[in-house]
């Protein structure tokens, strides 16, 4: 440190109420406790918390603790990160740091020069930094305490149709970022950036270039084929493997210009964390023509599994509830298809899945100029809303949608970045149902139907106390018994919910938080408020630090 008046002055100031500690990879690896340090809570994508203060017995006495209105917000998608009493939420090109006990703003970062506006699903935290991406593809690193800018680095070209909407994913010394924009033509990728500098470490394209393996599955349009990666991935530390899903091919509803399976759209990719090299892939919907991204994230669990010889042993698997209406179980090491069951009741496009997991198509379900009525609708049997896996109940909780729609094609010539999707699809309304699925059997343990407009995007979080939190299709925050689906508590947040809840603890008190429409809410158990006496407040010109030195 330099000498001079400030040095003496600084030495007069001591103390620290909050322990200053870096967020280490090992801390995130442990999963949630008091803090919630990664988008899905833990690397395995469980959205599960060990907190037990709010129980099945007392959840009925939950009350709102605070609300924070995000300026100019519209349909917030953010899933909060919480660390050491500070909550980080994002919106278009903005990150807000809030006091997680009170909801008071601490600092805001806004990139007013971003070339585009769009939704944003959240932040990541690692070391002393909090990270988020701008809509025009800059990774922004900020001091997690003060919001000071550490770097802002471009990783994608908005002029080539790529935008960014997902929460960055912090693993070891890397920040992994996906790509969005696949509905108007772009070439998807997953990129690993240095957490310290933002420099690119590797990039894996999700549509092969001409001549590369997989490019034979395209007749044309490789350069604009889509396969966006617009939700965070999950990570298996034992095998150093990233699991990341990909979106639909472009043009969405016109299959003719891209005959073939269109790899690696609508797929799950297993990638080596250090190199980005593809270990295996599984394509759920080859040659998709219904905009059924595989975006729902891959959940990593270990469950008892009976092999072909009838012997039951624990097996590491990937669970995936797909937009196409099926629920998949894959082997985590190889991607081998183990089982596929129907996620929803109304599914009319496939007779089922064959032994390799490929769909057995029914005729007359592709979009046509006249239109074909298909279930599920464009929104899918589920979507990007956060699922929760609860090791206590052994159940996976998934928001599903029973809706059908009319899929049509257009005679327009596909033009990248003109938002031409090759046709259209209707969303006439349907029924949202929260379903508890037993991954061991693929069967439903219970379900909770909701009222509403079938427009919600709310996910779930569940706890060791056996409480499941979600938002319903009518703007209510919900608490259900995770074992039975029995209603415990609800709160009308007054707005359509489009984000997933989390839970955290500060000063020994458990909170449940969700971004609802234009506000972030935090809930907790009721307790009578203690009077807050005003302290002795003095005002004056005082002395500036530099003037303290005699």
């Amino acid at each position: 440190m330099r000498s001079g008046p400030m040095k003496t002055c600084l030495s007069l100031f001591l103390f620290g109420v909050i322990a200053v500690a870096q967020v280490r990879y090992e801390d995130i690896l442990k999963g949630p406790g008091e803090d919630w340090t990664t988008y899905a809570g833990n690397y395995q994508g469980w959205r599960y918390s060990p907190l037990k203060q709010i129980t099945v017995q007392n959840a009925g006495s939950m009350v709102p603790k605070w609300a924070y209105h995000v300026p100019d917000a519209n349909g917030l998608r953010t899933s909060p990160i919480v660390y050491k009493g500070v909550m980080y939420v994002t919106d278009s090109n903005s990150l807000y740091a809030l006091d997680a006990r009170t909801g008071r703003s601490i600092w805001t970062y806004h990139d007013s020069k971003a070339k585009k506006k769009g939704v944003n699903r959240g932040a990541a935290i690692l070391g002393d930094s909090v990270y988020f991406t701008t809509t025009d593809n800059y990774l922004v690193s900020l001091d997690r305490q003060t919001g000071d800018l550490l770097f802002s680095k471009k990783f994608g070209e908005v002029d080539k149709g790529t935008t960014s909407t997902s929460a960055p994913f912090a693993v070891k010394d890397k920040i992994l970022v996906g790509s969005a924009g696949g509905d108007s033509g772009m070439r998807g990728f997953i990129v690993a950036l240095s957490a310290k500098t933002g420099d690119e470490l590797w990039r894996t394209w999700t549509v092969p270039a001409k001549g590369e393996p997989g490019s034979e599955t395209w007749s044309d349009l490789h350069e604009w084929g889509g396969a966006g990666t617009w939700l965070s991935g999950t990570f298996d530390p034992d095998t150093n493997t990233l699991f990341w899903t990909t979106g639909n091919p472009w043009p969405d509803f016109a299959g003719a210009p891209r005959l073939g399976n269109d790899l690696y759209t609508c797929s799950l990719l297993a990638l080596d964390l250090d190199t980005g090299k593809l270990k295996w892939y599984f394509q759920f919907t080859p040659h998709d023509t219904h905009d059924w991204d595989a975006q729902s994230w891959p959940v990593l669990v270990e469950i008892p599994w009976k092999d072909t010889h009838g012997v039951t042993a624990m097996r590491k698997v990937v669970l995936h509830a797909n937009r196409n209406g099926f629920f998949y179980v894959l082997d985590r090491a190889t991607g081998e298809f183990l089982r596929g069951t129907q996620l929803i009741d109304k599914q009319t496009w496939a007779k089922g899945l064959d032994d390799t997991g490929h769909p057995v198509l029914l005729p007359g379900k592709d979009p046509t100029p006249e239109g074909n009525w298909v279930c599920p609708s464009i929104k899918g049997g589920t979507n990007w809303m956060g699922q929760s896996y609860n090791p206590g109940t052994g159940l996976l909780y998934v928001l599903t949608l029973e809706e059908c729609g009319m899929f049509t094609t257009s005679t327009q010539k596909p033009v990248p970045m003109k938002n031409f999707a090759g046709g259209g699809a209707t969303e006439p309304g349907g029924q949202v149902v929260l379903r508890a699925i037993d991954p061991k059997t693929g069967k439903r343990a219970w379900e909770y139907p909701m009222t509403g407009s079938a427009k919600m995007w709310t996910g779930t979080v569940s706890t060791a106390a056996g409480v499941l939190f979600s938002g319903d299709d009518d703007g209510h925050m919900l608490a259900l018994d995770a074992k039975t689906g029995r209603h415990l508590w609800h709160f009308n947040a007054g707005d359509l919910m489009t984000a997933s809840p989390i839970t955290y603890e500060v000063d020994g008190k458990q909170y449940v938080a969700i971004a609802a429409g234009t506000n972030v809410f935090a809930f907790g158990l009721f307790e009578p408020m203690q009077s807050t006496p005003l302290p002795k407040i003095t005002r004056g010109a005082g002395s500036r630090p530099a003037e303290r030195e005699p």
Partner: protein
Amino acid sequence: MRFVVTGLIFPALLAAQHGQAEGAAKAPHDPAAVAAGAKLYATSCSGCHGPDGSGARGPNLFHRLESHSLKDDELFGTIRNGVAGTDMPPTKLSDDDTWKLTAFIRALTGPANESPAPGNPAAGEKIFWGTKAACSDCHAILGRGSRMGPDLSDIGGSRPLGLIREALVPPKDDPSRNYALGGKEGVTVTMKNGTVIKGIARNRSNYSLQVVDTKGELHLIQMTDVKELAILDRSLMPDDYATRLSTEEMRDLLAFLARQSVRAPEVAQ
């Protein structure tokens, strides 16, 4: 205030070196149009708005456009038509010249990094990190420096040069401009347990307080734990830079600050 005049009339002169912008109408970011507009401003506008835009008989332009932003067409219209009921007259300048003037006003009131600033930024950088100005005892740029005061990583990309200058040397008639960089209340918090925290309050209510201390560490405080709170009635920003730094040092420091931007300027300089 001498250095101010010297400092801010300079961009116009520098810009003028780019030459005239013949027929460069409706080109608000064109350096040649800015340069031509600077000459027009000096003869037609500076009498009322001051040679640096900081106002005299007429309003301070960068304050006015900060609180009432105008699109290029609207700014053009204001210059062309004047402002009814005020001393601002309509102009008889041609469309082309009015656009050049618009370009200059836009440069004067837009982000500092989008126009050439006078001075030596390399020398200004040394001043910023040195002990004489001691800027980095409170401020950081891209993570270097103290985190207590406002981050200056984007100061040139987000503020006109005139506002940055006012943060360094507040106008005598309006010391509140000292807060133009987003400074918050300086506080000394004495907790009931005897701990004392000094720093800048990022937010404060009767019920909670969020403070970044002099080491850049964040404290989340419940007011039930606070015994005494001393609030500084003025900004922690020193107000003696006009005497602490020479005219050249101030110009160089401004040149350095003007170049601090998260994004590259929209126009190549």
